[in-house]
């Protein structure tokens, strides 16, 4: 089995490759990872299956080969067997599509695509967690700075400053970090010597 993975995200592509190797350990799959698709790869690598990230603009290039394959030695076609519509749908939802050469074993194709979809979904969930952690950290810093301003300008303790922020957030129905951000914005306007 010879698989070409096209993904601008190398970490994700490596994770897909690792998943395929683990699943098809006995068959010693040959896997090539490229950030972009070039026509010559079909000749040089001669893949049975191409896995491509939906976020790669190159997907339309690969797709077009089923229509006009005069300049490529080996037509790659999209797998559209309805019996496997489910794995294809899950893959598109996770952000990955697959192309296979004629005659490639549909069961094997389905298992590879399922692994790819799982790895894509896993990476997305890791990224979401990371983004959320970053946002949480940024929000905490904003809240700390707003507390500091309230403590200084109104002579409050840290606890009182936080309670004031929280009360205002509840009264206005907005997140506490948004209230804190407003205080920072206004305090920048009011701070003396701004000119």
């Amino acid at each position: 089995m010879n698989v070409l993975i096209i993904d601008p995200d190398d970490a994700r592509a490596a994770s897909v490759a690792e998943g395929i190797r683990a699943d098809h350990a006995g068959q010693d799959p040959s896997i090539t990872i490229q950030p972009r698709f070039e026509l010559r790869m079909l000749r040089d690598i001669d893949p049975d299956m191409v896995i491509i990230a939906c976020e790669s603009p190159d997907r339309d290039m690969l797709e077009a080969l089923q229509v006009a394959n005069e300049s490529v030695p080996r037509p790659v076609v999209m797998f559209v067997d309805r019996s496997d519509a489910n794995s294809t749908a899950k893959a598109v939802e996770a952000g990955v599509a697959a192309y296979i050469v004629d005659g490639f074993n549909p069961k094997r194709m389905s298992s590879v695509l399922t692994v790819a979809a799982q790895r894509f979904a896993m990476m997305q969930s890791l990224r979401n967690d990371l983004n959320k952690a970053r946002a949480d950290l940024a929000a905490r810093k904003t809240i700390d700075r707003a507390k500091g301003i309230l403590m200084k300008s109104r002579g409050l303790s840290e606890d009182e400053a936080y309670k004031l922020l929280r009360k205002h957030a509840m009264d206005t129905g907005r997140p506490i970090h948004a209230v804190a951000a407003d205080i920072l914005a206004v305090s920048d306007l009011l701070s003396p010597g701004g000119e």
Binding site: C54, E55, S56, P57, D58, R59, D60, M61, E63, A64, Q66, V67, A68, S71, M78, V80, A85, T88, A89, V92, E93, A97
Partner: protein, 380 residues
């Protein structure tokens, strides 16, 4: 009502983007989530698998898919066109210079096609390879425009030109590397390439056809049947976006909205160039450029037959009416007090001057509607 809509980052997604930026979806009671997609194949698949409810699509896509050309996209209806025109053709500086050796390639397409034919002949005699032209998708208006242009000088587009599908984001580099000699793409990619010195724009959509159909809103038929009110609300939001976007006073704001990173995300200079008077001719006016004419659908089907992708043994009239839905456009437009064309089909081409289109309650003042070769397309 939640609605998921996919789009490709191009100027001609303007109605979808403006409707979000100015809150027209909200005021129509729709909670729209837009998703920006990197290629047409993924947009097609997301429609096919119900991952989105509607999408900005190339007008020929649902016809090609319905006729078994390529993978399925499920049953799709098009209740509104997303404007007219918007594409440009750019050629490499080397090809431009070759064309100029034989005369001045004015904006007349018949003239530039003749110069192109001479260059094709010269290359053949000197044993050079075929010219390579890039398009963004096989079933695209871009492909039809280039083929028609090439064929107008007697060239055989099938044998004498090499066609490649390339994402617009890579076209400029391929021109620079000499891999392709020219490309047709939606704005602002040709303008971005020209500003970077990667070739020159030879002509734009209006030079080919003054009011050329291009993208439509493709809606999943199953979703539309379950949510008939939401479909009308969605078309209303887009018509309102069209009213806003076609007002000259809003031009600068339109450029700013499109240039946002989350939207088209291209340099404002390229977007503004494409939307300028001698740009790509994008028309967003609801009454003149968003009605889904059955005659447009048939023109696209006719192109697919003309280039040998389809045999004529299909019920094209029925197919056109299943996909294009001027009846839904009319419900939405009349509720906004817009004038609605009476006919479902019209002759395409043949109006060199502005003309009056019979409509209710008032006739619509139409801009010229001419094809470069003077052809008139009549629905049989």
């Amino acid at each position: 009502m939640d609605v998921k809509i996919a789009y490709s980052p191009l100027n001609d997604a303007a109605l979808l983007l403006v409707a979000e930026a100015l809150g027209f979806y909200d005021s129509e009671g729709l909670n729209v989530t837009l998703s920006r997609e990197a290629n047409w194949s993924t947009i097609r698949d997301k429609l096919a698998y119900g991952l989105v409810d509607a999408a900005h699509i190339l007008a020929p896509m649902p016809f090609a898919a319905a006729l078994g050309q390529g993978p399925s996209m499920g049953r799709i209806i098009a209740p509104i066109a997303l404007g007219a025109n918007g594409n440009s053709v750019l050629v490499s500086a080397a090809l431009k210079a070759r064309l100029e050796e034989n005369g001045h390639p004015a904006r007349s397409l018949t003239g530039s096609a003749r110069l192109l034919a001479r260059e094709v002949d010269r290359r053949r005699k000197s044993g050079e390879g075929r010219l390579v032209f890039a398009i963004p998708f096989t079933y695209s208006p871009h492909h039809f425009v280039l083929r028609h242009w090439v064929a107008s000088a007697g060239l055989d587009p099938e044998r004498q030109i090499q066609w490649v599908v390339v994402p617009p984001s890579r076209m400029a580099d391929m021109i620079k590397d000499g891999v392709v000699d020219g490309f047709c793409s939606g704005s602002p990619w040709p303008q971005t390439a020209q500003l970077k010195g990667r070739g020159e724009i030879l002509f734009s959509d209006p030079d080919y056809w003054s009011l050329k159909p291009e993208k439509v809103l493709g809606v999943r038929s199953a979703w539309a049947e379950e949510n008939p009110d939401a479909v009308i609300a969605l078309v209303r939001a887009l018509l309102r976006a069209g009213q806003w976007a076609s007002r000259p006073g809003n031009h600068q704001d339109l450029v700013r909205i499109l240039a946002r990173r989350a939207y088209v995300g291209a340099p404002a200079e390229a977007i503004a160039l494409a939307l300028s008077e001698h740009g790509s001719g994008l028309v967003l006016d609801p009454e003149t450029a968003t009605y889904p004419w059955i005659s447009h659908a048939k023109w696209f089907l006719g192109q697919m037959v003309k280039w040998g992708w389809l045999t004529a043994e299909h019920d094209f009239d029925q197919l056109a009416r299943h996909i294009y839905r001027p009846d839904l456009w009319r419900i939405a437009a009349s509720s906004l007090g817009l004038n609605c064309p009476i006919a479902l089909e019209k002759e395409e081409g043949g109006h060199a001057q502005p003309w009056s289109l019979p409509a209710q309650p008032h006739d619509i003042a139409m801009p010229p509607n001419v094809l470069f070769d003077g052809g008139v397309f009549k629905c049989a």
